[in-house]
C-alpha cells in the first residue's frame, strides 16, 4: 500500500528534517488561521464596547480599547427597535427549536423502531430536504401564507424555520436511535413496563445527547435565519433581530458602534454554545453538520 522509497522526498531528506519542516508549517498554519478567525471578532467587540468618539478619533479608526463603555448598548435599546426585535427572535427561535426537536425525536424513534416499506424513500426524502435551498422553499411558502392571511405571524415563521431545521434533526435522531440498543427497551418490557413508560423512562434519557445536539442545530438555524424572516415578515414590529439589524447600515442615525453592539448581542448564544455545548455540536458533525 505504501509506495516506499519511490518518492524523491523520502530518498534525499532525512526524517528529522521532515519532522522539523512539518512542525514549523503546523505552527504557522495554526497561527494564520487563528489570526484570520479572531481579527473580525476582535474588531466587533472593540467597536461595540468603545465610545464612538474613541473609535473614530481624529479621522482614523482606533481599536486599541483604551476606554470601555456600555453606552452603545444603551443607545441600541433606547433609540432603535432592538428590544422588540430581540423579543421576536426569542419567540420564534424558542418555538421552532421546540417543534423541530420534538418532531425529530419522535420521527427518529419511529423510523428506527418500526419496520415499514419505503424506508429508503423516507431516508432520501429527508436527505433531499436537508440539502434543499431555503429561498426556493420560501417563495411558495410566501404565497401560501399570503393566501391564508398568515404573513407577519409568529406561527408562519416558526413553521418555515422548522421546515429548514427539522430535516437535519430527523436525520440526526434517526442515526442516533440506531446506536441505542433495543435490548434496553426489551428488558424494560419484560419487567412489565408499558411501551409508553419505557419511552419516557428508558429511551428518552438514553437519547438525551442526540436530542441536545438536535436542539442546538435547530436553535442555530432559527437564531441565524435571515432568509425566511425577510420573506415572511414585512412589518417592522415583527422583524427578528437579524432582519431588524440588517437595516441599521442604511440608516444615518445608527452608526457602527450601535451596529456592532447589536452584533455582539446576536453573538452571545453562539458564543455560549461554542463554550459549553461544543461536544454535542461535534456529535452532530459526525452525521453531516448543517448549512
Amino acid at each position: 500500500m505504501l509506495g516506499l522509497g519511490k518518492g524523491p522526498a523520502g530518498k534525499y531528506v532525512s526524517q528529522r528534517t521532515q519532522e522539523r519542516v512539518r512542525r514549523v508549517s503546523v505552527i504557522l498554519t495554526a497561527l494564520l488561521v487563528a489570526i484570520f478567525v479572531s481579527i473580525p471578532v476582535y474588531v466587533m467587540i472593540a467597536i461595540a464596547f468603545q465610545p464612538a468618539t474613541t473609535t473614530f478619533r481624529g479621522g482614523t479608526v482606533n481599536l486599541l480599547f483604551d476606554s470601555f463603555t456600555f453606552e452603545n448598548f444603551v443607545l441600541l435599546f433606547t433609540d432603535t427597535g432592538t428590544p422588540r426585535y430581540l423579543f421576536n427572535s426569542l419567540i420564534v427561535t424558542a418555538s421552532s427549536t421546540l417543534l423541530a426537536t420534538a418532531l425529530s425525536v419522535a420521527a427518529g424513534y419511529g423510523l428506527t423502531r418500526f419496520e415499514f416499506r419505503g424506508k429508503t424513500m423516507a431516508a432520501r426524502a429527508v436527505l433531499f430536504a436537508y440539502m434543499f435551498s431555503p429561498i426556493v422553499l420560501a417563495i411558495p411558502l410566501y404565497v401560501i401564507f399570503f393566501t391564508l392571511g398568515l404573513l407577519d405571524s409568529y406561527f408562519a415563521l416558526t413553521l418555515a424555520l422548522t421546515g429548514i431545521s427539522a430535516p437535519f434533526g430527523i436525520w440526526l435522531m434517526w442515526q442516533y436511535f440506531q446506536t441505542v440498543p433495543i435490548a434496553l427497551e426489551e428488558s424494560a418490557w419484560i419487567r412489565g413496563a408499558s411501551r409508553t413508560r419505557t419511552l419516557w423512562e428508558v429511551v428518552l434519557p438514553v437519547a438525551r445527547p442526540g436530542t441536545i445536539a438536535t436542539a442546538i442545530f435547530s436553535f442555530s438555524v432559527a437564531w441565524n435565519d435571515f432568509t425566511m424572516a425577510r420573506v415572511v415578515m414585512s412589518q417592522d414590529e415583527m422583524y427578528p433581530i437579524t432582519v431588524g439589524a440588517s437595516l441599521f447600515l442604511d440608516r444615518v442615525t445608527i452608526g457602527w458602534s450601535e451596529t456592532m453592539a447589536a452584533a455582539v448581542l446576536m453573538s452571545l448564544p453562539p458564543f455560549a454554545i461554542a463554550l459549553f455545548l461544543q461536544n454535542y455540536l461535534l456529535q452532530g458533525f459526525n452525521v453531516g453538520g448543517l448549512e
Binding site: 478567525v37 473580525p40 433531499f128 440539502m131 430527523i170 453538520g289
Partner: protein
C-alpha cells in the same frame, strides 16, 4: 392466568404500539406533506401560469422560456458556479489544513477547535457586519493596511466594485463556512489508526508518502461529500450574498437565489418567473441528489 386477561394484555399492548406508531409517523408525514410537499408542488404548479397570483392564465412553459432566455439568467448561473466553486474549494483547503494541524495535538489545539465553532454558529448578518467594516474603503482595517504598505494607491471599495465584490463575498463566506469542512475532516482524521503512521515511519516512509498513502485515502469519501453537499449549499446560498451586496454592483454578485428573490419581491412581482426559476433550481438539485444517492448511497446508514 385466564385466557381473557392474556387477550386483554395483548390488546393493550397492540393499542399502545399503534398509538406510538401514530405519534411518531403522523407528525413526520404531516411535516413533509405540509411544509415540503405542498409548497414545492404549489410552486411547480404556479410556474406554469402567467401572473399566478393575479389573473392566472395557463402558459405551459412560457415562464421557463422567459427565465432561461433572459440575459440575467446566464450571468446569475455563471456567478452561482463561480461563487459555489471558489467558496467550496477554499473552505475545503482551509478546513483540511487546519484539521491536519489540530489533529497533530499541538498546544492550543483545543482552543483552536473551540474558536472554529464560533464563526460557524454566528448569524450571517454578524459576519457581514464584520467584513463590511473590515473592507470598508474609509474606515476598514484592510484598506488601511494596504495603503500603509503601499500595496494600493487608492482605498478599494470591495463590496461595491464590480471587480472585487465577488472575491469579498467569497472571503466572508469562507470565514463563516470553512469550519464545516474542518469539523468533518477532523472527525475522520481522528478515526485513523495511529499505528498505520507508526508502521510507515518505521519502514522509512516520508511525511509526504504517509500523507498520500494513509491520510488521503481515508479522507477521500469525506472530501467528496464536502464538495458535493457544501457545493450545493453554496450554490443555493442567499443570505450572505444578499446582505453583503444585494447582488450588486451591476449584478456582479447576482446568483440564482438572488435572482429568484428579485423576481419575486423587487419592483413588480413576477411570481411566474420566480417559481419557474425555483423549479429550474429544484431540478438542478434533484439531478445532483440522484448522483449523490447513486454514488454514496447515504440511505444505507439508516435503512438497512
Amino acid at each position: 392466568m385466564s385466557a381473557v386477561s392474556t387477550l386483554q394484555g395483548r390488546l393493550a399492548e397492540f393499542d399502545e404500539k399503534r398509538l406510538l406508531l401514530l405519534a411518531t409517523f403522523v407528525p413526520f408525514t404531516l411535516f413533509f406533506v405540509l411544509v415540503w410537499g405542498v409548497p414545492i408542488g404549489y410552486a411547480l404548479g404556479m410556474s406554469l401560469f402567467s401572473d399566478p397570483t393575479g389573473a392566472a392564465e395557463f402558459a405551459a412553459f412560457a415562464n421557463y422560456a422567459g427565465v432561461l432566455t433572459s440575459e440575467l439568467f446566464s450571468t446569475a448561473l455563471f456567478n452561482s458556479v463561480v461563487y459555489a466553486l471558489s467558496s467550496t474549494i477554499l473552505s475545503l483547503v482551509l478546513g483540511l489544513g487546519l484539521a491536519l494541524v489540530v489533529n497533530r495535538e499541538i498546544t492550543g489545539g483545543n482552543a483552536l477547535r473551540t474558536m472554529m465553532i464560533f464563526p460557524y454558529l454566528l448569524p450571517t448578518l454578524v459576519v457581514i457586519f464584520m467584513w463590511t467594516f473590515l473592507l470598508d474603503p474609509n474606515v476598514g482595517a484592510v484598506n488601511q493596511f494596504l495603503l500603509d504598505y503601499g500595496l494600493v494607491q487608492e482605498p478599494l471599495a470591495f463590496f461595491s466594485s464590480t471587480q472585487w465584490a465577488m472575491p469579498a463575498v467569497v472571503v466572508a463566506s469562507v470565514w463563516k463556512y470553512g469550519s464545516f469542512a474542518f469539523f468533518i475532516l477532523l472527525a475522520r482524521l481522528q478515526a485513523i489508526d495511529p499505528n498505520l503512521y507508526e508502521r510507515a515511519r518505521v519502514e522509512g516512509a516520508s511525511t509526504w508518502q504517509a500523507f498520500r498513502d494513509i491520510t488521503v485515502p481515508h479522507l477521500r469519501g469525506a472530501i467528496l461529500i464536502i464538495i458535493l453537499v457544501r457545493g450545493i449549499w453554496m450554490f443555493n446560498k442567499f443570505d450572505i450574498i444578499y446582505l453583503a451586496t444585494r447582488g450588486g454592483p451591476l449584478d456582479a454578485t447576482t446568483t440564482l437565489p438572488i435572482m429568484v428573490y428579485e423576481l419575486a419581491f423587487r419592483g413588480s412581482p413576477n411570481f411566474g418567473g420566480a417559481t419557474a426559476l425555483a423549479g429550474i433550481m429544484f431540478m438542478l438539485l434533484a439531478a445532483v441528489a440522484v448522483v449523490y444517492f447513486w454514488v454514496f448511497e447515504p440511505e444505507q446508514e439508516v435503512a438497512n
